[in-house]
Amino acid sequence: MKRLNWLFCLACLGFASSGLAASGKLLATPGVSQVEGSAGGGIVPWAQLAGYASDDEIAINGFCSRADVSDYRLDVCGAQLNIYDRVEFSYAEQRFEVPALNTDIEQSITGAKVRLYGDIVYSKWPQLSLGVQHKSLDDGSIANLLGAKDTSGTDVYLAASKLHLGALAGYNWFWNTTFRYSDANQLGLLGFGGPDSDKELLFEASTAVFLTHQIAVGVEYREKSNNLGLGEQDWQDVFVAWFPNKYVSVTAAWLDLGSIAGAKDQTGWYLSVTGYW
């Protein structure tokens, strides 16, 4: 029902903005949609705001992603609204399937991001953005059972991104670094905080090379805290993103998510599709 609600909202927004379809950015420069709903890579939010809106346009995007690792599966769908390439609002719903326990953990994430400075292509210094992600578990019983302090929480992050034209033997080179202040356990799916741990500053980074106008390959890294004492490990991925036009992007990745809730070596595939209006 909840899912229907936001799909409906999205449709309303879509109608409201029909005729405003944004295309003012260069192909591929908005990036794709990360698992918490913000514009980014796959696991890291980037400084770019979602969609092709330039400073006098509004963009709306929708996405769905699936991560399928050894013992778990995560499905995410969400949407973003970009207003004048200054503010991004996002909403995402995650469903984390734990087949071993025959249960699902669901979480909703509301996000906002403000561009503080620059443009990833043209400004001398990297584009800089400040964002928040407010996360709330539908049912916190597993989080509580594992010893998490809270069943909702808010991450704050500062991200810097830059695209260097022709910098790598003539190929376009992209990088992003993000500092996140968070106490989320496995994105928040296992709650927030733990027996004796507080929010901490975590480092995340992505880098990619554009092989053509349409195809980028890259890697990502995301530092994780270990609040529950379950051996939570840093995440990494290798991705390829395809931007055939300004209406759709498709991202595939190989994930290495380390240990999740005691199950070691969680590796597997990731697939994500974003539609842009």
Partner: protein
């Protein structure tokens, strides 16, 4: 997997270094003839884009063509020196928004694709033109 990618990126860099002989960008786009063809392609691209064509209503196309040929020649380290009108003077009063600037960049990319200019050479040309943006938009 990670190692494979890093190895790949490293290989791309090595190949890039090995292939970056001492020729100028101007030579890599086939000199005077190449620049002229590129500019003609670009003008055709503009001619087919209503939104952008509107900015050229008062423009003397021959003058623009010659000016851009000399400008590109100079930007790609060819044997020319651009002494034409300055960028700020040309664009003042046009109030070009971000999106239209990017649209023109895309038309130039289309023209470079049409002239089969390699991706890496395209990127280098764009990286030399990109710093001119503040002299073009929103003025």
């Amino acid at each position: 997997m990670m190692k494979t990618l890093f190895t790949f990126v490293f290989a791309v860099m090595l190949v890039g270094c090995a292939s970056s002989n001492n020729s100028t960008l101007y030579q890599q786009i086939n000199g005077e003839q190449g620049v002229e063809k590129l500019v003609d392609s670009f003008i055709n691209q503009i001619g087919r884009d209503e939104q952008i064509l509107a900015y050229f209503k008062q423009t003397n196309v021959a003058h623009f063509r010659q000016g851009f040929i000399t400008h590109l020649c100079s930007v790609t380290n060819g044997p020319c020196e651009y002494k034409g009108d300055n960028m700020v003077d040309i664009h003042t009063g046009m109030n070009i928004p971000e999106k239209d600037f990017n649209r023109v960049v895309e038309l130039l990319i289309n023209a470079m694709d049409e002239q089969q200019i390699p991706q890496t050479v395209q990127n280098k040309i764009l990286s030399r033109l990109a710093p001119l943006r503040p002299e073009v938009i929103d003025i």
